[in-house]
């Protein structure tokens, strides 16, 4: 069976796996973005708190994904649960780090002018600092998403959702009919998902970056 015939014959399985792959990454990203940006907003101004948050999220990344998934099985079981927890944990570092960098990197005069005009600390944070830091935060989110799409393939190891199943199937039946086709289909599927995510982020970035930051003088 050629690769083309393989894809056509397994279209339902493949498209479902791709959709699940995208779904599990999207859910993990949504949670990690909400929590990560919140952590950044709360901790960016305290050297100790922001250092701790960044160190912790970096430490998680050093744990090999296979090990993390295995360790999670007793707690969150096989399948979606462990996959989501692991992916969310891996997503934090770029998001928190970029949020902190973005909020700290702003011109101090902008913040001072805001406070001096009578905006409360919270208003300055949400109406001035957050919009100005947003492009950098979004970059962090985008990096995280690309990372998770790759890592999510390993979720197949704990019977998780996604295109990893295809790749593992090929690996485990190496040499047999279609084993190469299965691995190739899984890999290409992941590339397609990654491209779609990137297009999504490109659109989001165009739509949400304040116009005043895009204009050229």
């Amino acid at each position: 069976m050629s690769f083309g015939e393989y894809v056509v014959s397994r279209w339902d399985t493949l498209s479902l796996a791709a959709a699940e792959h995208a779904m599990v990454v999207a859910i993990a990203m949504a949670v990690a973005t909400a929590v990560g940006v919140l952590i950044g907003l709360l901790f960016y101004d305290s050297p100790r708190a922001r250092g701790g948050a960044i160190a912790a999220s970096a430490a998680v990344l050093t744990v090999p994904s296979l090990a993390l998934l295995t360790l999670l099985i007793p707690i969150t079981g096989l399948g979606w649960g462990s996959t989501l927890v692991a992916l969310t944990a891996y997503a934090f570092l770029p998001i928190i780090r970029n949020t902190v960098t973005g909020l700290r990197g702003l011109d101090a005069a902008t913040v001072e002018a805001g406070r001096g005009m009578g905006l409360s600390r919270t208003r300055v944070l949400l109406q001035v600092q957050l919009p100005l830091a947003w492009p950098l935060i979004l970059t962090g989110v985008r990096v995280s998403a690309q990372m998770l799409i790759g890592i999510a393939a390993i979720a197949a190891f704990v019977d998780g959702p996604g295109l990893g199943t295809q790749i593992f199937e090929g690996l485990s039946r190496l040499g047999s009919v279609n084993s190469l086709n299965a691995t190739l289909a899984g890999t290409l599927g992941i590339v397609v998902v990654a491209i779609l995510f990137d297009l999504f982020f490109f659109a989001v970035s165009r739509l949400t970056t304040p116009r005043g930051l895009r204009v050229r003088s």
Binding site: D107, G114, R115, G116, G118, L213, S217
Partner: protein, 327 residues
């Protein structure tokens, strides 16, 4: 908030002190200063002498360690800082416009916080842009990054004036522009203040700027100790000590001439069209310049003839010596 809403109110500083934690000495030490309603008072002194700290205590961006601040009789330290700041205009050297908001949004921010209607804010934005010489139709929808440095400083001043506050704090607001733009902004601002009569505290390290803009000048030493507090003319005529004299420099008399205008001097004779001509609102310094460049000791203006002797008299120098001494 204050007893008068838009026109200037009196500001009183009493034994105001700020000791930053971890610093060996206070940055501002026991400052007492009265700023009369509707006057522009310049705090001038070398870098690091505590000008900014003194100013920021008034809108409580810096909390005083001890002392009192009263604005229009109200004890400022008993007010909510955010509420207080919405009634005090604030303009700084780095301007600090919000880059993600248009010029109109930047200017309309405080009025919006104060609950003004959209129509009223719009009208106010137009009015202020015209006031600072920026064509509203051209500038209201621009973003700060689309403005030159001088234009940004104008918008900064417009933003500080937005809610028509009785009090303005300005920390080297024209400091970041080139000398020509700077002079232009100073002249415009001086004219503006003549109409507005706000109570303004203006910080600068530039003595020339202080003389040009101030109704009064407070010359500060380190820790904001006041070396002399008086009108520019009085300080130039009688510097309190060597420190103040050092600030004035070698050309104090010329600086005094610059503060007086031709119209201030009683003319010696009726206008004479054969003499070099100077306008009535020119400064005596310009008149002197004209005489020097024509090699004469007289010039004429629409109010009459001005002599070298009358210039000497205007700055209180013994004129007889010049008139009789035929050197």
């Amino acid at each position: 908030m204050f007893d008068r809403d838009t026109e200037g109110v009196r500001i009183e500083l009493r034994s105001l002190t700020k000791h930053y934690p971890g610093q060996p000495a206070p940055a501002v030490d026991d400052v007492t200063l009265d700023i009369p309603a509707g006057e522009l008072v310049v705090l001038v002194g070398p870098s690091g002498c505590g000008k900014t700290t003194t100013m920021k205590m008034i809108n409580r961006l810096v909390e005083p360690s001890s002392g009192e601040i009263r604005i229009g009789g109200q004890d400022v330290l008993g007010l909510n800082p955010d509420q207080l700041r919405r009634h005090i205009g604030y303009a700084i050297q780095q301007v600090g416009l919000f880059p993600h908001q248009t010029v109109a949004q930047n200017i309309g921010l405080v009025p919006k916080l104060l609950g003004w209607s959209a129509d009223r804010i719009n009208a106010r934005v137009e009015e202020l842009l015209s006031l600072v010489s920026l064509e509203p139709s051209l500038f209201r929808d621009r973003y700060p990054r689309q403005l030159s440095g001088g234009q940004q400083q104008r918008v900064g001043v417009a933003r500080a004036l937005a809610a028509d506050p009785p009090v303005m704090l300005m920390d080297e607001p024209f400091g970041a522009t080139d000398p020509i733009t700077r002079e232009h902004l100073q002249n415009e601002f001086a004219r503006l203040q003549k109409q507005l009569r706000k109570t303004i505290i203006f910080v600068t390290h530039d003595f020339e700027e202080a003389i040009k803009l101030g109704d009064r000048i407070a010359i500060l030493r380190e820790r904001s100790h006041i070396a002399q507090y008086d009108t520019p003319a009085a300080i130039l005529a009688a510097p309190a000590d060597d420190y103040v004299a050092g600030f004035i420099g070698q050309d104090g008399t010329l600086k005094r001439l610059a503060l007086l205008s031709v119209a201030d001097v009683t003319p010696a004779l009726p206008p004479d069209t054969r003499l070099p001509q100077v306008s009535a609102d020119a400064s005596l310094r310009e008149a002197l310049d004209l005489m020097l460049s024509h090699g004469t000791d007289k010039c004429s203006s629409p109010t009459g003839v001005l002599t070298y002797a009358s210039l000497c008299e205007a700055v209180g120098a013994p004129a007889e010596a010049v008139v009789s001494g035929d050197r």
